[in-house]
Amino acid sequence: MAPLLTLDGLSVFYGRRPIIENLSLTPITGGGVTALIGPNAAGKTTLLRALAGLVPAKGSIRLVGMASPAHPLELTGLPVSQHARHVTYMPQALPQRVALTVFEATLSALMSARSDVVLSTSEAQARALETLERLGILDLSRRGLDELSGGQRQLASLAQSLVREPTVLLLDEPTSALDIHHQMRVMQLVAELARERSIIVVIVLHDIAQAARYCQRIVVLEHGVVAADGLPEQAITPQMLARVYKVEARVEPCSQGFLQVIVDRAA
């Protein structure tokens, strides 16, 4: 059975200002990719950070694991070290000027929290190398993080998340710095990994057509509220784009059957 993530009555505040208010979703299932889309300041990153346990949230986030489906794990309020056993978050901002190699950075993702991963140094090294190979960047392992291009750095960052073998993988705009080729590569890879390991992947994306192509479920956020939720063709509609994104747009399948969004003008 694939794991499930449930969100119930979730609220997140910055000071007194609510960013997300009383948000509930039908369970997010493992094995596929769920996209969070929405205009700027819709609360996408905040929701992702709340799922990652990085901002305090009210309400309930439960993980129904593969091992014990009868005992869902309440993630809200869990100490960061326990939270990190199940959930890994890849932030959008990547570090600058860091004198570490790709391999060292990947290794530190495991070694810094060895108490909860329980690995020997040798096992950690093997796992780091496997992860780099899986992402096709084994040849970069000796390179310094600050010598990498933007795209390579995003792959290295993805490696740091994957090496921890999370049940829930949260990605905040992992393709933002990438050219088209690397965007496709990363999205294909993420979709493959979700399927292979039957993990839950929640990804914030700006590119709606990309979300439609690689994700099984689209959650559209607007001012911290769910504006649409469902299969790509259910969630991405001209009406939704007009209401949420304030654009006049057509949603049409291309000759290969992929959903395309053609924006005609700002409404």
């Binding site: 000071g15 950070r49 990652a52 346990g53 990085l54 100490p79 960061v80 070290s81 326990q82 939270h83 990190a84 056993r85 959930v87 890994t88 978050y89 890849m90 932030p91 901002a93 990547l94 570090p95 000027r97 860091v98 004198a99 570490l100 190699t101 391999f103 060292e104 950075a105 530190s108 993702a109 070694m111 810094s112 929290a113 060895r114 909860d116 090294q125 093997a126 190398l129 496997e130 190979e133 899986r134 096709g136 084994l138 392992s141 000796r142 310094g144 960052s157 740091q160 998340s161 921890r164 590569r185 294909q188 890879l189 493959e192 292979e196």
Partner: protein
Amino acid sequence: MRPPSAPAGPQAEVRHASHAGERAAYARLVRRRILLVAGLGALMLVALLFDIATGPSNLPLADVVSGLLNPSGLDAPSRVIIWEVRLPYALMAVLVGTALALAGAEMQTILNNPLASPFTLGVSSAASFGAALALVLGVSLPLIPADWNLPAFAFIFALGSVLMLQAMANLRGTGVETLVLFGIALVFTFNALVALVQYVASQEALQQLVFWSMGSLSRASWDKLGVLALVILAVVPFSLKASWRMTALRLGEDRARSFGISVRQLRFFSLLRVSLLAATSVAFVGTIGFIGLVAPHIARLLVGEDHRFFLPASMLAGAVIMSLASVGSKLIVPGALLPVGIVTALVGVPFFMVLIFARRERL
């Protein structure tokens, strides 16, 4: 894009070969770093010996070495020179360099700022203010011996300034930028307060204060050395224990937290260590800038930021620069002992520049 991993015969062999190659490369890298750290250690010993052998009384190096190994074979004046003056000064240089560099290295990591150091974030200024109060206003603490009064004041204020940073760090929603700004605000505040005290100070007290703030090893003594050594020995194991976590913190705060690291806790204990190291050093020798800033940079250029190597390399680099500065303080004006605080930057900057240019050529 590689196909989903299916380790079939020849493919799996290639894979194992490339993994073994990467493991060997990493093992070589680790070995090289251990050698570099050991090299810095050797350099420190040479600098230390050189420091002990240098002084206005022209003792030959051979006599100094034999005097160190066999003190009873020395005549009384030489014994006093070596054992009561040069050795404590030289060891103090090494310990102060070690402590300030470690404090700087930890601050740069936990505040994610390459300009952070005990000097740039107010610790030294706070210590100066404490010293100024003791010197100019003549206040004294109960239960403290007279010649420890000034260091005690300096220590309390230095510690207080880091604890204020600590309190700021624990306020909800304070980013590291705010912390750094607050540290800089502390520098200006305490400098203003020192100026105020100087304004009302007598001629004599003013002179003493100015001299104190220059930083000098001539305040070294065996009991102060003992205290500083104890602080370093108590702090270093905890620093090294946190080294993987600090390495991960270099990848970003959210990143580190999503690895399961309690960044708040890491920062709290690190600042506690910093406060002990910096406050004790500054209390004993006065204001010595630059070491805490530049030694970590030298270490970073040499061994990178895997903190298992970065922290020891920083400490040793700090000790080397401080030792060389101590030598310089005796040689620059023959026969006179300059305050070492003046010399540190003069010695450290060229050392740093050489490394920066050496690195540029390699890239």
